[in-house]
Amino acid sequence: MFNSSLNQLSTLLATKRVSSIELTRDFLRNIKSLNKEYNAFITVNEEMSLDQARIADAMIASGEGSPLTGIPIAHKDIFCTKGWLTTCGSKMLSNFISPYDAHVIELFNKAGTVNIGKTNMDEFAMGSSNETSFYGPVKNPWDILSVPGGSSGGSACAVAARMAPAATGTDTGGSIRQPASLCGVSGIKPTYGLVSRYGMIAFASSLDQGGPIAKSAADLALMLNVMVGFDARDSTSLQHENEDYTRELKGPIEGLRIGLPKEYFAEGLSDDVSRAVDAAVAEYSKLGAKIIEVSLPNTKLSIPVYYVLAPAEASSNLSRFDGVRYGHRSEEYNNLDDMYLKSRTQGFGAEVKRRILIGTYVLSHGYYDAYYIKAQKLRRLIAQDFTGVFKQCDVIMGPTSPSVAFSLGERSNDPLQMYLSDAYTAAASLAGLPGMSIPVGFGKKNRPVGLHIIGNYFAEAKILSIAHQFQQVTDWHTKMPDIKKF
């Protein structure tokens, strides 16, 4: 059951061979036995989960179910969830019980899924290793000495360790794709604007995008069918016609033009990752795809540009956490400024502070043009690179991460090295393009390798199909870490 696809679970539920209550209890049991080790969840609330399961069973019984009704889903703790502690991985919000549901949560509730728990994450989604969480690091189920990636590390770990059939995540510069890659699961970040940001605690508004993490492309398609939708409460939400993301899954690979940007295979890429990615590309070739070398000349700029723009937006987005209306407030303070100072000093961790500092600096008088404006111009150039390349090929492939999961603590004192984890993913975020990661093998120490697939705007159905076809002829996505037997 824990290895079942969403489709299989859906059938089990619909044919009443299993109830949502039973399914929920099973996954809760898994969480209970594994979470101490992996720390993938910040909040688990059996009672609330089971309440939802009861509702789901009633929906199914009355024939009102939809494909995901009754299926437990883990939600990244960045999504405001009514009645649930919603911490964003921060001490700042360690006492914040959300009075409302994010749009994404509303959609899952409407679909009748069960919230199985809120997953751990880098504080305010700032990190690539899940080590910046106030609630402690998440462990990679493939190797508990290594990181799961971040910032949606809890979600990726929960899916990899079978604590949830699927999970939600968010991706600002690679926060879905990189942890999916490092944990050997599949994840997709849709085109910017497809998933509403309402109720998704903002890190960098112009980049943040929700998306699912699951065991396969087919499961991701079902998750996207629930998550994507126009929302008038998010001005950047796109009025895009509703799609069935499963519709193209069976589409052929024959004749597909795959572009391999030479910049993605240059210096900085580990050999083990390179080998696994090469093998995956060879598999596509075997399936009839045409492999073309392309160039995204501004790739190198994506990390510097990202680390100007994202902190700039973050420095402003995080201003609301001032200890006045909710969240952490220092026990003692002498005056207003002191209250701000102490509350924020105590409430935020080192990485968040670093980014607030960077962001404040680049927006400051006298530096704004040199940093922020310049970065915006370069962002446009980076996006234009993709526009050009998509004239030559249908999709772009490369490694999701330059290396397999690194060891806990290895990069936590070296922010620059940590930032380079997003070297291949940040560009698609800056361009607003959909990107996904699927497992395609293992590198050193038997740690998973992910293949990064970038599509053109709104090409989610297409890249899901490309991934699905690969998963029809390979079994990397079915591999499971060696976790305690249940």
């Binding site: 405001c80 508004s205 420095s315 201003s319 404040t360």
Partner: protein
């Protein structure tokens, strides 16, 4: 030494919308603290702003009324600073590319409206959200925060430093005040803070081209304070310069009790607001179709209405003109409701009697409204009722004086009765029958031989006394012009 005062104004006017600039919460004034603050206003984690379309229309109306450019796109930007009543830690405003740019306003500053007309250029007008309120009383040493006002839409209107005195600044502020209320985009209520001014004041030697260093006086919420603050500030700056000092750029507050300004902060400790485009909001695109739609829905701006009231030729647009004096037109266009009331009256009576109608509206109606502290929309006498009364003057049924009595009768509780009814019930119909008046005149001449003799000796005053006698006999109902004529004629015969 001759000094010149230079003033530029920034006027914050609250726009009249049901809901806030970026949320659906109500903008009604005076609710219990935080009863009108929704998740967006409180800035809960994860909430996002959504622009209120109605606000855009009001800003565009203002822009069109002053012949400004409507920018498309215009950009919303974040102005970052920490304050407890600023829930997001930034205010959404417009910085580069405001919605309205350019435009101008004419002001009259002299006592005589014919003189001293000046053009004040508008730099820009941009949309921004208001902050909440910090309440420093009643919380046992703590500060209370009321976020009802947070997110209320404001239009900040910024002028060029084109004013040269406190009087001009007040004239400009009043003109804007009239305009925004006229257009229906703001209630202009200064007590409730719907209309507040910041004044940038500097002085320079008369004839200098360059501007002096300015100081900004914040948050002036009455025209009187605006005037007093600028006057104090100008004198202060002159004094500093004349005694060899230098003006340091600063933001100051006006103490209305002491009538002085005090430094709030200097340039050195001014905030770096770190403006940048708000990534939660898309650039605001306003299509020319939308602009035309808004233009079509607009009332006639006050300046055009004023011109029409003084013009004697009917304009090319076929709209009525009334050939009024500038004074009358000014009085009638201080408020759109007054202008509308006047036009309703004059439309019934006809433009030939426009002056008479204007007199009534500016005179009797305005006086009674003032006494009762009422807006003209709450006048107990409708334009229709007033028109019927004025018609009875025109057709000679009653004299102007009687008409005023009837007016007061109607005003004091006998509303919904027509002038005709009152004339009928009280028998106020004027005597215009010349035979009848001649009889009365002859009677008065017989009864007052002394006055007749006086008149014949050249005492003009005696004539008035005789007229009075005739009027007395008719209880004021005789047509005074007719009495005059007949009396003159009879006295001529006696001579």
């Amino acid at each position: 030494m001759q000094w010149e005062v230079v003033v530029g104004l920034e006027i914050h006017t609250q726009l009249l919308t049901q809901s806030k600039l970026f949320s659906g919460a109500s903008t009604t004034f005076g609710g219990a603290p935080n009863s009108q603050a929704c998740a967006v206003d409180i800035a809960l984690p994860g909430v996002l702003p959504v622009l209120n379309r109605g606000v855009v229309e009001l800003a565009v109306k203002f822009g069109l009324s002053i012949d400004a450019r409507i920018n498309s796109p215009s950009i919303f930007a974040r102005k970052n600073y920490f304050y407890p009543d600023l829930p997001k830690g930034y205010q959404i405003s417009q910085f580069e590319l405001p919605i309205v740019e350019g435009g101008q306003i004419n002001i009259q500053t002299g006592k005589n409206n014919e003189e001293d007309e000046r053009i004040i250029n508008i730099t820009r007008a941009h949309l921004e959200e208001d902050a909440g309120k910090s309440l420093h009383e009643d919380f046992h040493g703590m500060t209370g925060i009321d976020l009802n006002r947070a997110g209320t839409p404001l239009l900040e209107i910024v002028s060029e430093p084109d004013m040269r005195s406190s009087a001009e600044a007040v004239a400009f502020a009043k003109k804007i005040h009239t305009l925004v209320r006229w257009l229906g985009i703001s209630d202009g209520n200064m007590e409730e803070g719907s209309f507040r001014c910041d004044a940038n004041v500097s002085v320079r030697r008369l004839g200098d081209d360059t501007l002096g260093t300015r100081r900004e006086i914040k948050n002036l919420n009455s025209f009187r304070y605006l005037q007093q603050a600028i006057e104090y500030e100008a004198e202060f700056q002159k004094y500093i310069l004349e005694t060899g000092g230098k003006i340091k750029q600063a933001t100051v507050l006006f103490d209305s009790e002491k009538r002085e300004t005090h430094v709030m902060r200097t340039k050195e400790d001014s905030h770096d607001y770190r403006y940048f485009p708000d990534p939660d909001l898309l650039p605001l695109i306003i299509s020319s179709d939308w602009i035309e739609e808004i233009r079509a829905s607009m009332v006639e701006p006050p300046d055009l209405c004023f011109s029409r009231f003084i013009d004697s030729e009917i304009g090319s647009n076929g709209k009525e003109t009334y050939a009024l004096s500038k004074y009358d037109a000014t009085m009638l266009t201080v408020d759109i409701d007054i202008a509308t009331y006047f036009e309703k009256v004059v439309r019934i009576i006809g433009r030939k009697e426009a002056k008479l109608c204007a007199n009534w509206v500016i005179g009797e109606v305005a006086t009674r409204l003032n006494q009762d502290n009422k807006n003209i929309t709450a006048s107990p006498i409708s334009p229709q009722q007033l028109a019927e009364l004025i018609l009875r003057i025109c057709d000679g049924t009653v004299s102007g004086k009687t008409a005023k009595d009837i007016f007061n009768t109607m005003w004091d509780g006998e509303s919904h009765t027509s002038a005709d009814e009152i004339i009928k019930i009280k028998g106020l119909r004027q005597i215009s029958n010349s035979d009848e008046i001649t009889k009365l005149v002859d009677m008065v001449l017989i009864e007052n031989p002394q006055q007749v003799a006086d008149f014949c000796r050249g005492k003009e005053r005696a004539f008035n006394s005789l007229v009075g006698q005739v009027m007395k006999k008719t209880k004021g109902k005789a047509n005074p012009a007719q009495v005059n004529d007949i009396l003159k004629e009879r006295l001529k015969k006696k001579n």
